[in-house]
């Protein structure tokens, strides 16, 4: 296979890319090539792919890409087509040979040319080699990345030549690394120097193999380089765990911060808090349904919409249930628990018991690579940032606005506040609406991390109460610190205790902590403490 690749490369090197004057193999030959793909055995398909690569047909890349995506199919009449969109029952297709638009075909009349992971690997490598010569820098970067650990004798020469010509530093660095890995596998001791300090896994794998080499000098050099890398890796792992912890913590903070207002400040035990989060998540889904094709915009619009929906639902709960149960925490708990079940079943019967798909916009998927061993997932980074923004905004509202002042006054001494002319009932409504709205915001963020279904809220209600109680009831800073530190503790424990035990340890820790300091991390002081 590699020699075929080389052949392909040589042709490409000799013929400048722009020279599409190269006569394409006529359609008969092309059909023969494609027909070889339409067999049951995967190894035979692999050979057919090599034949296509060697054929030097200019449509080859398109075919290979379509094959990789599962869109290269055969119609009942034997024609090869490329499916443009494979959702629904009828699919728009075009002719694989002429590129002619063939309208829509039923999936019953189409046979997909299936591939498996081995072929997928082969196709990616083949396409990567082709793309090394692409004028597009991004394509070259992806293909250079792909070739790490995949370079062999045949490819080494052309790659060396390419490094000379390459303008992009990143591509050059990747190709050099790929070449060094190949040389190390050949037993070249100089290559160890190139790999020393590289955190990339294929470099580590190559060094690992080299440590058991017969050549003692090489084995020693590799061992030394590995020890170096290992130390560096430990630092990266610590940073990664910290990030995991902060990210988990930010989810806890988001889920709990609304509760910190309704439970912490107002003293209402609202068991339907989780369902308010769920409403926020469903609002995100709804917005994406309303704005098809624009998941990013829909997500941004879902932030105010989710707030409003959850706030209104919260106010409705406050007016219809909670206001009649003031000062009766047990009854409030039971009543709001009932409300939570009603809301869940409403969603189940009204929308569907199945999870809804919330699309993650392009700019939120994937991760940013800090270095080869440490990359931070983007969606969680956004959620972390969002949690901090929500917290800051909430602090501002409570500290710097009239509403915040009134809320604090009413919760500290209701009778006194009323006698000063504050309309306590209105403050109750607004506060509860604010806390519920923030729960809705949490739902918008969670829709990007977990599944949006009727059970979404249940998974977070216990954690939310835990964070608020641990942080100190009535203290927003406490909620922030408690959430983040519980997240970090959990993630530090998880690797050596396992997920199940880590959770139990954290719960036990909180129980012991509350025994010692019943008012949490940051107990309220002074007059506020009496309320």
């Amino acid at each position: 296979m590699r020699s075929l690749l080389l052949l392909w490369l040589l042709v490409l090197l000799v013929v400048p890319l722009t020279a599409h004057a190269q006569p394409s193999a006529d359609d008969e030959a092309a059909i023969e090539l494609l027909e070889a793909l339409d067999v049951d055995s995967f190894p035979a398909k692999g050979e057919a792919i090599d034949a296509i690569v060697a054929s030097d047909d200019e449509r080859a890349r398109g075919w290979l890409q379509a094959l990789l995506d599962g869109r290269l199919q055969r119609a009942d009449d034997g024609r090869f087509v490329i499916v443009l969109d494979n959702s629904g029952r009828d699919w728009p297709v075009e002719d694989a040979l002429s590129g002619e638009d063939l309208g829509e075909m039923s999936r019953r009349d189409l046979d997909r040319i299936g591939i498996n992971n081995a072929l997928r690997n082969q196709l990616r490598s083949v396409i990567a080699v082709v793309d090394l010569y692409s004028p597009n820098v991004d394509q070259r970067r992806t293909s250079a990345e792909r070739l790490l650990g995949e370079v062999d004798e045949d490819l080494a020469g052309p790659i060396e030549a390419l490094i000379e010509e390459e303008e992009d530093a990143r591509v050059r660095q990747r190709l050099t690394l790929a070449l060094a890995i190949h040389r190390l596998e050949q037993g070249d001791i100089q290559a160890v120097e190139h790999l020393d300090g590289s955190l990339h896994s294929s470099a580590r794998i190559a060094l690992n193999r080299a440590t058991s080499s017969d050549d003692e000098a090489l084995a020693q050099a590799a061992t030394a380089a590995l020890a170096n890398i290992e130390q560096n890796l430990r630092l990266n792992r610590a940073a990664e765990t910290l990030y995991f912890g902060l990210s988990m913590g930010s989810v806890l903070v988001l889920a709990a911060i609304g509760l910190a207002i309704t439970f912490g400040v107002m003293g209402v035990i609202n068991m339907a808090h989780g369902e308010l989060i769920m409403l926020g998540a469903y609002t995100t889904w709804m917005m994406q349904q309303l704005l098809p094709g624009q998941p990013g915009l829909a997500l941004i619009l879902a932030i105010p919409a989710g707030f409003m929906v959850a706030a209104l639902a919260g106010i409705a709960i406050e007016r219809s249930v909670i206001q009649f149960l003031k000062g009766r925490p047990l009854e409030t708990l039971l009543a709001t628990f009932g409300v939570s079940l009603i809301l869940q079943q409403l969603v189940r019967t009204g929308i569907s018991p199945l999870n809804r798909t919330v699309v993650t916009p392009e700019w939120m998927s994937g991760s940013v690579a800090i270095n080869d061993a440490l990359s931070l997932t983007l969606n969680r980074m956004y959620v972390l940032g969002f949690a901090l923004v929500v917290f800051a905004a909430l602090m501002l509202v409570m500290r710097r606005t009239r509403l915040g002042l009134e809320v604090r006054a009413v919760t500290q001494n209701r009778a006194m506040a009323r006698s000063m002319g504050i309309r306590a009932t209105r403050v109750d409504i607004l506060t509860f609406g604010l806390g519920s709205g923030v729960a809705g915001l949490a739902g918008v963020a969670l829709s990007q991390l977990t599944n949006v279904g009727p059970n979404l809220g249940q998974n977070y209600i216990i954690d939310s109460f835990m964070v608020v109680v641990f942080g100190g009831v009535g203290n927003l800073w406490g909620t922030l610190v408690a959430g983040l530190s519980l997240g970090v503790i959990n993630q530090v424990l998880e690797p050596w205790a396992g997920a199940v035990l880590a959770k139990i340890i954290v719960l036990v820790f909180i129980i012991l902590f509350i025994q010692k300091r019943p008012r949490g991390l940051f107990p309220q002081k002074g007059r506020a403490a009496e309320g």
Partner: protein, 446 residues
């Protein structure tokens, strides 16, 4: 007699008589008392996500059967109860179905713990239960028909595929912390070590709580586990909802199926309908049916399902096919026995063979499990699976695993004269084994 009448051959006469019979039979069906079919699936609570579609499936099958004139000239009537994902309530509802509604057969349950809860009720009241979900095995009851896969029809062939076809040498067994993943992983560990000589350090086992949503650490551990240079795969028994955040995290941390494939036993089309599958292309699932199976029976079933739901996006999955098979087997047994009496059905159904949706046939074995083909599918970007491998023939379900010490010698055979669910071939006695207790003890030790 005119000339045209001469063409009225005996065969035509018979056809006409049969048609007339079917018509009158259809008319009678409305008159007589109906055959009652109980449906015991959660419509509320956490399991509603999976079970509510199964209720719809059985209702659809009943309607289709009624359109064909019912059974034995009687109409079928669905009796639906909602056990609300509450295990003890399953037992109460099962009792209600059998005692109050006097149903002739029950289709139901999803989780193993709910099945264990209703088992004594069905045995006491001599009801019939068709259980459609893949499960951990180590059970065979006279009153239960297991139309889902036993471990040897899913987990074992899947791991063999990984070893033989993909060349995997390192395994991460990741599961939710309850009985099905723990038993399956115990069987798999024994199988990998004893049959394939996989070393201890090449097996990583990790359990998570139910509804686990923070997969960052585990996914990063899997990534490191796979960076040792040996081909690595994840065998996932993660249950239900927790799969969505798991796959999301995999995609975001850039773990590609070509590097570390994940093979899942609980992820079907329905679970995937909650995620964008673009980053998951190539990850695997092992089932006995996929929606993408290219047969006319399957397309008919899908089209009927889409029409029933009036939803173009409606998906079908493996447990639905299991109900399809189970329902048709029961109907066939009723026709064969000429009655719905449970004892008669129990005898009549063994050996009954009906078409499955994958172009073959399923037969009811004496151990109350059925024969199934095992399919391995790769996730596609449209949320479907592309079948990349399947067993050359169907595999008969084994109630008692051959890879666990306690159950190796056991077999189930509900035919006369044996009539035993746990016959010990070593001691030659029925119920002579304490396999279940041994398995539980082994679990407790872990």
């Amino acid at each position: 007699m005119n000339a045209p009448k001469a063409s009225f051959t005996p065969r035509r006469l018979i056809t006409a008589m049969l048609a007339a019979g079917a018509l009158t039979g259809g008319a009678q069906a409305l008159a007589d008392d109906p055959i009652k079919v109980g449906i015991l699936h959660s419509l509320s609570g956490t399991m509603a996500i999976s079970e509510s579609t199964l209720k719809d499936t059985v209702e659809m099958l009943i309607e289709q059967q009624n359109e064909q004139g019912g059974l034995l000239g009687r109409e079928l009537e669905a009796v639906v109860v909602d056990p609300a994902s509450d295990w003890p309530l399953f037992a109460e509802r099962a009792r209600e179905l059998l005692e109050q509604h006097e149903v002739d057969v029950v289709f139901g349950n999803w989780t193993s713990v709910s099945r264990k809860a209703v088992l004594p009720v069905f045995e006491e009241l001599n009801g019939l239960l068709f259980y459609p979900v893949q499960y951990e095995g180590e059970e065979s009851s006279e009153n239960v028909f297991y139309t889902g896969a036993a471990p040897n029809q899913q987990a074992i062939p899947a791991v063999e595929y990984l070893i033989n076809q993909v060349g995997i040498e390192r395994f991460a067994l990741i599961g939710t912390d309850y009985v099905y993943p723990r038993t399956t992983n115990r069987i798999l560990e024994a199988f990998l070590k004893d049959e394939h000589g996989v070393a201890d350090e090449d097996i990583m086992v990790e359990y998570t709580p139910f509804g686990h949503s923070d997969w960052q650490n585990i996914v990063s551990e899997i990534r490191r586990f796979g960076e040792e240079g040996k081909p690595t795969a994840v065998v996932s028994t993660i249950n239900g909802d927790a799969n969505v955040p798991f796959y999301r995290e995999l995609g975001n941390q850039g773990i590609d199926a070509a590097d570390i494939p994940v093979i899942a036993f609980s992820v079907g089309e329905q679970e995937l309908s909650g995620i964008d599958t673009g980053p998951l292309v190539g990850h695997l699932a092992a089932w006995n049916y996929f929606m993408s199976v290219d047969t006319d029976e399957n397309y008919d079933f899908i089209d009927a399902w889409i029409d029933w739901n009036d939803d173009e996006e409606a998906v079908t999955n493996d447990p639905m096919e299991a109900h399809y098979i189970g329902f048709n087997m029961w109907a066939e047994a009723v026709r064969k026995a000429g009655t719905t009496d449970p004892d008669e059905i129990k005898d009549a159904i063994i050996g009954v063979t009906v078409p499955n949706l994958t172009g073959g046939y399923a037969a009811m074995m004496p151990n109350h499990h059925i024969t199934k083909p095992v399919l391995i599918g790769e996730v596609q970007d449209n949320g479907q699976f592309d079948i990349v491998w399947q067993t050359p023939s169907t595999v008969a379900g084994d109630a008692w695993s051959d890879f666990l010490p306690g159950s190796r010698d056991l077999m189930a055979d509900w035919q006369a004269p044996m009539r035993c669910g746990n016959y010990n071939v070593a001691t030659g006695s029925c119920g002579g084994s304490t396999a279940a207790e041994e398995a539980e003890e082994a679990l407790a030790e872990e």
